[in-house]
């Protein structure tokens, strides 16, 4: 029960999807089963989102219980979950309710975009002390990077029309070649890892044993 059932489930689902993809001509009804199974997968993923929230609650609940100095922040987190959930359920249709819209557009969205936008400052400081031509590899990387940065800005063409054309060459040729090699290798990796998971050779993902 603990070992065989999960391996069996993974195997059946995996084989179903692969079979449907390559060989559905042999057994047309398999298409509907595969679509249903994928719809189930989507539903189960939705429950997993709930599990993640439950875990957040457990961790922060513990922080509050232990009277951690930052416990008030955990309360803030609970408040965030609570108000967003409640107003979210009442926000019907395309137009969200007022409170929900305030929470989303007035807090959630600006917090998210602001947090993201500070990253360019880390680049600025890393530019000074981290991005250094330590060896020939890094030199290649940095020279290409600087060319692309200049070539991609509208001002690049004013400096020299060479920059935009060099940029477009770098992206269309060496970049495509390098990324393609990576893709080819990664695709093989996905097939093999997928195979190991489906036939149950790697049981660690089912929780060990």
């Amino acid at each position: 029960m603990k070992k065989e059932v999960p391996i069996g489930i993974g195997f059946l689902v995996g084989v179903l999807i692969v079979f449907e993809y390559f060989l559905k001509g042999l057994w047309p009804a398999v298409s509907k089963t595969a679509t249903d199974a994928q719809n189930w997968g989507s539903v189960i993923s939705a429950f997993a989102m709930g599990l993640a929230a439950a875990n957040l609650i457990v961790i922060h609940g513990r922080r509050i219980k232990q009277k951690h100095p930052d416990a008030w922040m955990s309360w803030l987190l609970f408040a965030g979950i609570l108000v967003m959930t409640i107003t979210g359920f009442y926000a019907k249709g395309t137009a969200g309710g007022n409170t929900f819209s305030f929470l989303f557009d007035g807090l959630y969205l600006p917090l998210g975009t602001a947090m993201f936008s500070i990253m360019v400052f880390f680049i600025a400081s890393a530019a000074r002390r981290a991005f250094r031509a330590r060896n020939i590899d890094a030199a290649f990387l940095l020279v290409a990077g600087v060319i692309v940065m200049i070539g991609n800005a509208p001002v690049g063409k004013l400096i020299s029309p060479w920059f935009p054309s060099a940029t477009s060459w770098l992206i269309s040729f060496p970049n495509v070649a390098g990324n393609r090699a990576i893709m080819i290798g990664a695709a093989l990796g996905m097939v093999l890892t997928g195979f190991r998971v489906i036939v149950g050779i790697d049981r660690s993902y089912f929780g060990g044993e």
Binding site: L109, T113, V120, A127, K157, R180
Partner: protein, 278 residues
């Protein structure tokens, strides 16, 4: 030399201030550096231009709010371009926050007189990423039993004759991460040969370039806001992205100068260390 040393030792917050000034200044006092349209943007524009009035296009909002500002202007201008041609647009999201962008875009155009369910439709969001995309590709109503207004999609005229993702004339997907072009190509394009054009944050541009060269994508907006500006110029609808480009130019130059100074400093320090050892 002294200045270089001072640059090396100055508090990193000064670097932040310099960058900020270089970005804010051109926003307040635009310089008006001309913008050229790149060939991959032109391909995307052409893929929308090929559509006829009445054709159905799928617009996919696969973006998180973090990367949203880089990719949302692309989706906005593509949507405006398509609707201006009379193309009918079905919206969908496979990233949760994408739904909010989709809803706002839909509301905006409905308020401008487009008819919900005829010109534009918002299906909603489905969890499960690639699993959901694959299921959606094969049977839209299995995943979207209801649209965001709680009605069956098939009850709207815009969905007439559309059962799978392959029934759209064009799929335009906008992504900040996963799912992105790779997932859509894997799950939908290999199956239905439907034209897929993608807009992605600049970070993801280069890695998706092979798909454009191989023809698996018919268009790629690979440079985030910059690509949106190019698109705005190409379809003569200048907007926020175009207005941002002067700041983009000066910002790039600032970072380039930092990198170059940092490396000169590095060389100087290395030479000094060698001299000390000798």
């Amino acid at each position: 030399m002294n200045i270089l040393k001072r640059f090396g030792e100055m508090d990193r917050r000064w670097l932040y201030v310099i960058l900020l000034v270089m970005v804010v200044f051109p926003l307040l006092r635009p310089i008006g550096i001309p913008i050229d349209v790149s060939s991959s943007t032109a391909k995307f524009v052409a893929s929308v231009d090929r559509l006829q009035a009445g054709d159905r296009m799928l617009l996919v909002f696969d973006y998180s709010i973090g990367g949203g500002p880089d990719v949302d202007p692309q989706a906005q201008v593509v949507l405006a371009h398509a609707l201006s041609k009379g193309v009918r647009v079905v919206e969908v999201a496979f990233v949760d926050t994408g739904l909010n962008y989709a809803t706002k875009a839909c509301d905006l155009w409905v308020s401008k007189g487009k008819v919900y369910g005829t010109d534009i439709l918002n299906l909603g969001y489905a969890p499960g990423v690639e699993t959901a995309i694959s299921a959606f590709g094969q049977n839209i109503e299995a995943i979207f039993v209801r649209d965001v207004n709680g009605k069956a999609p098939s009850s709207y005229p815009i969905m007439e004759g559309i059962k799978t993702a392959g029934d759209f004339k064009l799929i335009a997907e906008f992504a900040t991460g996963i799912p992105g072009p790779a997932e859509w190509i894997r799950q939908v394009v290999t199956r239905y040969k439907v034209p897929l054009a993608c807009g992605v944050v600049s970070v993801m541009g280069p890695q998706n370039a092979p798909y454009l060269q191989s023809g698996q994508l018919v268009g790629l907006l690979g440079g985030g806001l910059k690509s949106a500006a190019e698109y705005e110029i190409a379809v003569k609808m200048p907007g926020a992205a175009t207005a941002a480009m002067d700041a983009q130019s000066l910002g790039h130059l600032t970072i380039v100068v930092f990198v170059i100074l940092g490396n000169i400093l590095f060389l100087v320090e290395r030479r000094e260390q060698k001299a000390k050892k000798a």
